[in-house]
């Protein structure tokens, strides 16, 4: 288990848990990020503190610092 920004670029994972405050968790869940949802990390930029992911076919961006609250289970490469 690891945090979302630690995933290799282009890697897939299953969402395990979202920490952080309630409004952040709720916002994520309502965009379809629930435990068990498949997420793909598309881009991570430390310089811009930016993470771009694909969930349910939709491109979402969030702050890297906030993405650290998202715990995921990486899928085996293949």
């Amino acid at each position: 288990m690891t945090t979302l920004p630690c995933l290799p670029r282009g890697g897939f994972c299953q969402l395990v848990q979202v920490n952080g405050d309630r409004s952040f968790r709720l916002r994520l869940m309502e965009m379809g990020l629930l435990p068990g949802t498949r997420v793909r990390l598309l881009r991570y930029s430390d310089v811009h503190d930016l993470v771009e992911i694909i969930v349910r076919g939709c491109h979402l961006t969030l702050r890297g610092s906030e993405a650290n609250h998202i715990l995921v289970e990486p899928e085996a490469a293949g």
């Binding site: 952080g20 405050d21 309630r22 409004s23 952040f24 968790r25 709720l26 916002r27 994520l28 869940m29 309502e30 965009m31 379809g32 629930l34 435990p35 598309l42 881009r43 930029s45 430390d46 310089v47 811009h48 503190d49 930016l50 771009e52 969930v55 349910r56 076919g57 939709c58 491109h59 979402l60 961006t61 969030l62 702050r63 906030e66």
Partner: protein
């Protein structure tokens, strides 16, 4: 703030035309569809949160009935954390003073179907008739998906009409479906799609019992939907409005109980909805191929890359800034010339007196000072609408987020703040691109601190007149001073933003979570229409205030007319004209001198002159005399007017600019009653600091009034900037004197 906060007044139930509300996620083309259905001109963009005002329109059904259309702010969910987001629920279920809709039209992006259905499922819970407009079906292929509208309709239990709002495909069918659903509401009102578990059921009923009676009336189903909303939305730190304390207490109690029992209430509710969607999805949604967003991804690889993205962003901003600063210039020049030509023509055809003066110097000059803003406003909004419609604005928000967050600002505040270097008026109007009121307010209140182009003539005059042409460390002193003024104002603006965001506009940090829409080629007609709409809104909204102020200033500067002068100028003029032994040139010169002297004295005796003298005690600690005070009052029309007002005050004529040698010489010679020089470099510095920080611009006040729809904020802006300017000038002048820089 916006119309959205004022619930539209419902007409009497008898004979009221049916109300259809249009809801949907951001970026679904809801606004375009609304436009197509009502023919009303509205903003169309391609990034989240564009709808701030509530839009209303009318739709004529084929059967002859007229339907009222109202849009619901775009949202991913009805759950709300702020008063602004709360509108979505109230408008869809007729609570909090909003009328109960007869039909809810949900606009759904077919290419992002499962996420869009989350809102749809929530709306179905309310129990009002629902129709789904399945938009962007023409784009499904590029996403490698296909959707079966019939199967979707069966799954949801409501009519589903595939459309493409951009190409107007499917609109007649949609209108017929609206007509049918209004006539047969039961056909569009299915049972809720999911059934809560036992524990959640108890929570819902407990909260429902605490709802205010006017929110859901006797409608049990609507009450349950609002109870679910309350369970997700209310918490000790929410910024919702009008939640009755018993309801709040009940929700907090149930949340605490659930937590104590080890339940995750939020997740239970959200998951129930998504579980239904995921179970039903295979019946209507097929994935045919891997989704391809090749082009968008390749562009993003460049524009969001840390190494190339930022320089490319700077290039884009450079072009934007250049266009505001120099491309708008010729157009501004034409407008000024045109209005002065009209003024001269009208003036020549009227007899001298009050009406001529009012018409030419008040009304025509006033209209001119409004229209002169149009080139910059149109250019800026042309850029902004293109950035929005293409999808680049969403990226800019992210590129700038990290830096702007340090100042307590939104990433989107960058474009308005940069535009502030050209002119605060279009820049303040551009704050509309931010969804949160707090972000808009902070940006709006610091933009007038940026060094706008109208301050340049004032700085040029002061620097060239009072500071030596020389070098310091190999750099020209005068140029350095100019650079210093820019740096100074920028630093003050950024500090002010940081302070405002930590004091008056203190708020919880909001997580940034948003969609990056695929890049799209902007639709030209929409962009141009939108740009023009902005210009028109400025003319009608802020224009009237600016015009009124110009007329008021004209009056202050030219009245009273019949006052006792120190000498009889008419007689003096006759004397010069009849004096012998003067060459034609000398005679003209003497007459001109006399005229300048007369207008200088007239200005001194005018209301503005008296005001200048009245405020002199307040200005003296800054090193200013009453003549500078008059200049400051005149500069309220526009900062650069300071230069010509000083020309008038010093009797060298109003026809001067910052390059005039006569004005510079006269300013250097100016001495006070004791014979001391009025203008030292220290006074010049103090004056520039004052100009950098004071809100010497009635147009700024007018446009802030238009954007905030109240007088409170423009007055606050004026007050805080004046206090800031006075204090900073005081420190500059008195501190300088203390250090012995006074001479």
């Amino acid at each position: 703030m916006s119309k959205a906060e004022k619930p539209p007044t419902a007409k009497g139930t008898a004979g009221r035309s049916p109300l259809v509300v249009v809801a949907g996620n951001p970026n679904t083309g809801k606004t375009t569809l609304f436009n197509q259905l009502t023919g009303q001109r509205m903003r169309v963009g391609n990034y989240p949160g564009i709808t701030i005002d509530r839009h209303l329109g009318k739709l004529q059904l084929p059967g002859g009935t007229q339907v009222e259309l109202a849009d619901v702010p775009g949202a991913y969910s009805l759950a709300a954390r702020s008063a602004e987001e709360q509108i979505a629920l109230f408008a869809s279920c007729g609570a909090g003073g909003y009328p109960l809709p007869d039909l809810v039209l949900v606009v759904v992006d077919a290419t992002q179907l499962t996420r869009n259905l989350y809102l749809t499922v929530q709306l179905l819970e309310i129990g009002r008739p629902v129709i789904v407009a399945l938009n962007m079906v023409d784009r499904l292929k590029e996403g490698g998906k296909s959707v079966d509208p019939g199967a979707l309709s069966r799954a949801l239990g409501v009519p589903v009409v595939p459309i493409s709002a951009r190409s107007k495909q499917g609109l007649p069918e949609l209108v017929r479906a609206i007509e049918h659903a209004l006539a047969h509401p039961a056909s569009a009102t299915p049972d809720p799609r999911w059934i809560p578990g036992e524990e959640l059921e108890a929570d819902i009923e407990a909260v429902r019992a605490s709802l205010p009676t006017d929110w859901a009336g006797k409608d049990e189903r609507r009450g349950r939907a609002i109870a679910l909303w309350a369970l997700l939305s209310i918490d000790p730190e929410d910024e919702l409005r009008g939640i009755p304390p018993p309801l709040r207490a009940k929700v907090l109690e149930r949340q605490a109980q659930a937590k104590a029992a080890g339940r995750d209430l939020d997740q239970e509710i959200v998951r129930s909805r998504f579980d239904w969607i995921d179970r039903a999805a295979p019946t209507f949604l097929q994935l045919d191929a891997r989704p391809s967003r090749d082009l968008s991804e390749r562009v993003d690889a460049l524009l969001l890359n840390p190494w190339t993205g930022f320089p490319l962003f700077l290039v884009a901003m450079g072009i934007l800034f250049q266009s505001l600063f120099s491309w708008a210039d010729p157009a501004i020049g034409w407008i000024e010339d045109a209005f002065s030509w009209i003024g001269t023509k009208v003036g020549a055809s009227l007899p001298e007196g009050f009406w001529r003066s009012l018409l030419t110097e008040g009304v025509i000059a006033g209209v001119g000072s409004v229209v002169v803003f149009l080139p910059q406003i149109l250019l800026l909004f042309l850029f902004i609408t293109m950035m929005e419609a293409s999808g680049y604005m969403a990226r800019v928000a992210f590129l700038m987020d990290r830096i702007m967050r340090l100042l307590g600002l939104n990433g989107r505040a960058f474009v308005p703040m940069l535009s502030g270097f050209a002119c605060a008026i279009p820049a303040i109007m551009a704050t509309r691109t931010m969804e949160r009121r707090r972000d808009r307010m902070i940006t709006m209140l610091v933009i007038p601190l940026m060094t706008c182009s109208a301050r340049l003539p004032v700085y040029t005059l002061i620097i060239a007149t009072l500071f030596p042409v020389g070098h310091w460390l190999g750099m020209p002193i005068q140029g350095l001073l100019m650079v210093f003024m820019y740096v100074f104002s920028t630093v003050v603006a950024l500090v002010a933003a940081a302070v405002l965001s930590r004091t008056i506009f203190k708020g919880r940090p909001v997580p940034l979570l948003m969609e990056l829409p695929p890049y799209r080629v902007p639709e030209w007609r929409t962009v141009l229409r939108e740009t023009w709409h902005k210009g028109k809104a400025f003319l009608t909204g802020a224009g009237t205030v600016i015009l009124t102020c110009t007329i008021a200033l004209w009056f202050l500067l030219s009245y009273p007319k019949n006052v006792a002068m120190s000498q009889d100028y008419g007689a003096a003029r006759t004397a010069i004209e009849s004096q012998e032994g003067l060459s034609e040139e000398q005679r003209e010169q003497s007459l001109a001198n006399l005229e300048h002297k007369e207008s200088a004295e007239h200005l001194r005796l005018s209301y503005a002159g008296r005001m200048g003298q009245a405020i002199e005690p307040a200005l003296a600690p800054l090193g200013f005399d009453w003549k500078i005070g008059v200049g400051l009052i005149g500069a309220f029309a526009a900062r650069e007017v300071f230069v010509s007002t000083m020309g008038l005050v010093y009797g060298v004529g109003a026809d001067v600019d910052e390059q005039s040698q006569s004005l510079r010489d006269r300013i250097r010679r100016e001495s006070d009653r004791e014979g001391e020089r009025v203008y030292t470099p220290l006074v010049g510095m103090s004056l520039m600091v004052f100009f950098a920080l004071a809100c010497q611009c009635m147009s700024t006040i007018a446009v802030v009034r238009r954007e905030t729809k109240t007088w409170r904020w423009p007055l606050f802006l004026f007050a805080y900037m004046t206090v800031l300017a006075w204090t900073a000038s005081f420190i500059t002048y008195q501190g300088g004197r203390f250090l012995g820089l006074g001479e």
